[in-house]
């Protein structure tokens, strides 16, 4: 007689709500189109349903974070562990997904590719990310990664009449499934060496002198390096970011990195804590990512490609504290993820707001003289760019400061100095957009589209948070983000 396991629905509530939202969107679209409802009316219903779903999940996860009650899914063989780290990262991921979902409505209509599947795929992918950040077993890590990636392959090719979008989807699919295969073989080898798939058991049995286990750990690291697009596993990133529709690029650039880094943080801490060599491997990856990403970003003439190389460089900054491995460093990673999400979502939101009649604003020339035509948008773009560059007064500066201090305290001085130097290089390319907007005469192309209300909400949220986190990161009683990251980073490990 097989005992029926007690399932703790609370632990999978966020994932369940997201999946149900996705099916509601799919069937809702079917119903609306059979009723012959107007295209834009149907669009706002679908945005409403998916936005409400994401908002519900944000509320659930934030409440979980506040109550700080750890719960597990199936305690006999724990697959998911919801502690403050899981709640913090899932609210971050779902919050970012909510903002990119709000951006999509106007953009998809401008490009005439407004289909309900977009929202369903976005919700399913977000469910995978939530699964991934809560996972404490290889099985759930694998399931989370795939549920996150497969909808994203489709989303990258969402503009299916355009060869560039097809090509982006194909490249993302091949790079992604290759990375998954490497990751899985790594998991198989670690399983072979330890006989376990659960993080805590692996940590107890992993022997740093066992070569098979170490090959496995290496392959798992390579798989994650693909997902976070760290050098030398980054080649797909610029192509995929450039070819995918901008609303999709915004979603995947931000949320995938959040989820993958949160999961990597947990695996390194809770499963591979015994492997000391990992610190230096991560430090090398960090160094190469910072140098290559920042240098390549300089020579780009497409804004999306520039942001892709900048995302590679930012992955390098995030790997610096991961290689240090202290609790303070983990908190710095989480804080920088917030900063990264705000800066990038804001920049993509401005690009989306300038998309007009199927024409994307993705070349630097499209921004010439924007300040005279659209002063508000230009000012917002400047704010997001200087935040990404890490100039004092913005969230980006606070994020880099946290990483720098954590690295110095963990005796990682060379990496910290390299990070400061490459950040200086990055100012050059981040300031190209402000220079084009404020100092060049404007191009013949008029930027006439009205800002849609949802886009305004996203831009205002991002801009306000960038300023708040930059000027008062931990002084407001209702927004002590740095304290939250510490609470998340020191959440107790599951046993």
């Amino acid at each position: 007689m097989i005992p029926i396991p007690t399932l703790h629905v609370v632990a999978i509530l966020p994932v369940l709500v997201l999946a149900m939202g996705a099916f509601a969107v799919l069937s809702g679209e079917l119903f609306l189109s059979s009723r012959g409802a107007g295209k834009s009316g149907a669009g706002s219903v679908l945005v409403g349903v998916s936005g409400a779903t994401l908002l519900t999940v944000v509320v659930i996860t934030v409440q979980g974070f506040i109550s700080a009650e750890a719960s597990e899914f199936n305690p006999d063989h724990p697959m998911l562990h919801l502690d403050r780290l899981a709640y913090f990262s899932s609210s971050l991921v779902v919050g970012a997904a909510l903002l990119s979902c709000l951006l999509a409505n106007g953009y998809l209509q401008e490009l005439r590719i407004h289909h309900g599947e977009f929202y369903a795929l976005l919700l399913l992918s977000t469910a995978g990310m939530v699964l991934l950040v809560c996972a404490v077993d290889f099985l759930s890590v694998f399931l989370g990664i795939e549920l996150m990636s497969i909808p994203l392959y489709v989303l990258a090719g969402f503009d299916r009449g355009k060869p560039r979008s097809n090509e982006s989807a194909l490249k993302y699919f091949i790079a992604g499934s290759f990375a998954t295969a490497l990751l899985l073989y790594g998991m198989a080898l670690v399983y072979g060496a330890t006989g376990a798939t659960h993080f805590a058991t692996i940590a107890a049995r992993l022997d740093p002198n066992d070569s098979m286990a170490m090959v496995g750990v290496g392959l798992i690291l390579v798989g994650f390096a693909f997902k976070v697009s760290s050098v030398p596993f980054h080649q797909w990133t610029p192509d995929v970011y450039e070819g995918a529709p901008t609303a999709v690029t915004a979603f995947m650039a931000v949320t995938v990195k959040l989820a993958a880094f949160a999961a990597l943080l947990r695996i390194l801490d809770q499963a591979f804590g015994a492997v000391e060599a990992l610190g230096s491997v991560l430090a090398v990856l960090a160094g190469f990512s910072m140098c290559v990403g920042n240098l390549m970003a300089i020579i780009q003439d497409n804004v999306k490609r520039m942001l892709a190389w900048s995302a590679i460089a930012q992955a390098g900054y995030l790997l610096v504290p991961l290689s240090a491995g202290t609790a303070e460093a983990r908190a710095a990673v989480l804080f920088y993820l917030v900063v990264y999400a705000l800066g990038n979502l804001g920049a993509f939101a401005v690009m989306i707001a300038l998309t007009h009649r199927g024409q994307e604003a993705d070349r630097f020339d499209d921004y010439n003289g924007l300040a005279t035509q659209r002063p508000g948008l230009a000012a917002a773009m400047v704010l997001f760019m200087i935040s990404l560059a890490g100039i004092p007064g913005t969230a980006g500066f606070m994020g880099k400061l946290q990483i720098f201090l954590a690295a110095v305290r963990a005796d990682q001085l060379p990496l910290a100095i390299l990070m400061a130097l490459t950040s200086v290089i990055s100012v050059y390319y981040y300031l190209r957009l402000p220079i084009a907007m404020y100092m060049r005469p404007h191009s013949e192309r008029p930027h006439r589209r009205e800002l849609d209300f949802l886009e305004f909400v996203v831009l205002a949220t991002c801009a306000a948070l960038v300023l708040l986190l930059g000027l008062l990161p931990n002084t407001l009683d209702w927004l002590p983000v740095i304290d939250w990251t510490y609470q998340a980073a020191t959440a107790s490990a599951p046993n």
Binding site: P163, Y185, T197
Partner: protein
């Protein structure tokens, strides 16, 4: 017995990896990735027997299901590319570079 299965899976995985990296036809690359995933399955089953632990076999079932979903999406992407470009050669998928 377990040792031989693991060696065989390593060989299959190596063939799949090389195929995915050097072949230029999209369909062959997809087949190579499938080969890598099946090498993983073989290794997992072997290790599962070695440790007398069913968790490895559960993971295999998951991998089979997810690989099927993945390849369905992959073929869909290949078809949409083929409709626009009439090619299966990865070298010709080069609108996006640098």
């Amino acid at each position: 017995m377990v040792g031989e299965a693991v060696v065989l899976s390593a060989i299959l995985f190596a063939i799949g990896t090389v195929g995915a990296l050097v072949r230029r036809n999209v369909i062959v690359v997809l087949m190579s990735i499938e080969l890598m995933l099946n090498a993983v399955n073989l290794a997992l089953v072997a290790f599962s027997r070695q440790w007398a632990d069913p968790a490895g076999q559960v993971l295999v079932l998951m991998v089979i299901v997810v690989a099927a979903a993945e390849v369905a999406v992959g073929l869909g992407i290949v078809i949409s590319l083929f409709r626009n470009r009439e090619t299966l050669n990865l070298e010709e998928a080069s609108l996006l570079k640098w």
